[in-house]
């Protein structure tokens, strides 16, 4: 076993999994296989109106209305999602895409299928989360820079400070309050907007 695989196995053992598929042989098999991977498993069926979000991964039957039952807005997932697709009839691709799953598991369910979809869903979900985190950080930085520039303009205009004095003023306040400079700048902008 490679160390990448060991670390994935260790991750599986820490997971809370939610299974929302019919309680038939296939469904029971899925629950057992997840337990074999040492995840803690909850099985719910019929599909609740709103899937619980206090879990790390959801295995859910691809059913009409699934997107409305997912407890987060698309693009802001709280858990990894694997949809379980039934054999036979052509799958509803629109429904699949709108559910925005991280992986797909085909019935009849096999051991390998469970492991593959578990690993893929978690890896995809955590990558997606890291990227969203990075983007939030970038947005926050841009807002901070904008706030400082605006606060500086306000101070220059209303207090007849030069650029450097305005800058020093904001920095000095931030140091005194032990607050991030962007927070102090935003406060200056807000109070100015209220007063004027």
């Amino acid at each position: 076993m490679t160390s990448a695989e060991r670390s994935l196995r260790a991750e599986f053992a820490k997971l809370d999994a939610l299974v929302a598929v019919p309680r038939d042989d296939d469904g029971e098999f899925l629950v057992r296989e997840l337990q074999r991977a040492r995840a803690r498993v909850r099985h719910v069926w019929p599909l609740p109106d709103r899937l619980p979000e206090d879990t790390d991964i959801i295995f859910c039957a691809l059913e009409p209305g699934l997107p409305e039952r997912i407890p987060w807005v698309p693009g802001e997932p709280k858990a990894a999602l694997t949809v379980v697709v039934a054999p036979g009839a052509a799958p509803d691709l629109g429904l699949l895409v709108n559910s925005a799953p991280d992986a797909v598991l085909h019935r009849p369910i096999t051991s390998n299928g469970v492991l593959v979809s578990l690993a893929l869903a978690r890896s995809h979900f955590t990558y997606d989360r890291r990227l969203r985190w990075r983007i939030n950080k970038l947005d926050e930085s841009l807002r901070g820079m904008r706030a400082v520039e605006r606060a500086k303009e306000i101070l220059m205009r209303t207090r007849q400070m030069c650029e450097e004095e305005a800058y020093r003023f904001i920095r000095g306040q931030a140091m005194r309050r032990r607050a991030p400079i962007s927070v102090v700048a935003a406060a200056i902008v807000d109070s100015h907007d209220i007063l004027s």
Binding site: S3, S7, R134, S141, E163, E164, R168, P180
Partner: protein, 381 residues
């Protein structure tokens, strides 16, 4: 030492990506050496939780695409998550997508242009607020307000010069010229530039020339008969290693801003310099990039001892906020951006090729990679 070599204690394996060939090998080689020195120190004192740390080392040959390939190889084939490496920003930018997708942790020990954040990188070299701002102020106060900007033609010099241009202009200075040369530029490529410098007579040359062509710039400067006392080259990347490569006579009198010089007076530094020279030779100087490469391994080890796991999601939160007594003084990995709070120093090359420290901050300067709090004014306090 018990247990360190016992059969059941498998070593910790980490990746190391510094070039041993190509145009930035001179400086990257010192980062590799400092990394190996730190690893040896850790292993000599018993490893981490009785397990040795073993590096897997590849030579990316100063080529960004090769950096990316080797990063992938480390993570996929060698199952490694922690990678120490990268010098140029182009190489860092080539490695980041790989570590982000596969959830590795890149430790990057080099000054860079800022304006970056990645959940999969720990930055241990200075951002512009920790070197450019002080350098600009120093040069303007000592030498004058007319700057000429020269750099190698890739992302770091162009971005650093953009920041320097803003700093100069916002503080009443003027940029009278700007030029970029290939990373592989030779002596003859600098001749026309020196001609232009003699004609324009700026007060200061701000250089972001990196790698082997650094020697060509400083040597052409001497050949052109220019005088460092009146028109110095100010740099963020000319370290003891570049000075050694070009010869002290070519570099004497020029100025560099860095968080570390070999001449820093701390107990940790005497220890670091002595160990480095003992291992690599008396005439091998340390430098800022080597120092960051050295202390980042120790910070990594400190966190690993606590987590007992190399898993990025486990290790990274412990790294953030970690303080360490580095050769440059106490440093701290800043929690906001995973950059490091470092010292700011201005050094001038002396006749023996070392740096005389002319100015230093009174404490660590918090990393502010987006220049939110240290944007445009030169005030440092």
């Amino acid at each position: 030492m018990a247990g360190l070599h016992s059969r059941d204690s498998e070593p910790w394996r980490v990746g190391v990506l510094f070039s041993r060939s190509g145009c930035t090998a001179v400086i990257e080689e010192t980062q590799l050496r400092a990394t190996l020195l730190a690893l040896a120190e850790i292993n000599d004192s018993g490893g981490i939780n009785d397990r040795e740390i073993v590096p897997v080392i590849y030579d990316p040959m100063s080529d960004p695409a090769t950096f990316a390939c080797h990063a992938k190889r480390l993570m996929v084939e060698d199952s490694i998550t922690a990678i120490f490496g990268c010098y140029t920003s182009s190489s860092r930018k080539a490695v980041i997508p790989v570590v982000e997708r596969l959830n590795g942790l890149l430790w990057y020990p080099t000054p860079y242009e800022g304006f970056e954040f990645s959940p999969n990188v720990i930055y241990t070299g200075p951002a512009p607020n920790q070197n450019s701002v002080a350098l600009c102020r120093f040069l303007m106060e000592r030498y004058g307000r007319r700057f000429y900007l020269i750099g190698s033609d890739y992302v770091y010099p162009r971005e650093s010069n953009r920041i320097m241009r803003e700093l100069v202009r916002n503080n009443g200075g003027e940029v009278c010229g700007e030029t970029y040369l290939s990373l592989r530029a030779q002596h003859r490529d600098f001749v026309p530039v020196l001609g232009e410098l003699k004609r324009l007579r700026p007060d200061v040359i701000f250089s972001t020339v990196v790698g082997d062509s650094t020697s060509s710039l400083y040597q052409s400067y001497i050949d052109a008969g220019l005088e460092p006392k009146v028109m110095p080259i100010g740099s963020l990347t000319t370290t003891e290693a570049e000075v050694r490569a070009m010869g002290a006579d070519a570099a004497e009198g020029h100025v560099t801003a860095a968080s570390y010089f070999q001449s820093v007076c701390t107990e940790q530094n005497s220890f670091f310099v002595a160990r480095y020279k003992k291992r690599y030779g008396e005439d091998e100087p340390t430098n800022m990039c080597a120092e960051a490469a050295y202390f980042q391994v120790h910070i990594f080890a400190k966190a690993l001892a606590q987590t007992d796991s190399l898993d990025t999601d486990t290790l990274r939160p412990v790294v953030l906020g970690t303080e360490f007594d580095a050769p440059q003084g106490k440093v701290c990995v800043n929690e906001t951006y995973a950059h490091t709070d470092l010292w700011t120093r201005i050094g001038r090359v002396d006749s023996r090729g070392g740096f005389e420290i002319i100015e230093e901050s009174c404490a660590q300067v918090n990393a502010d990679p987006y220049l939110i709090g240290s944007g445009r004014a030169l005030a440092c306090s």
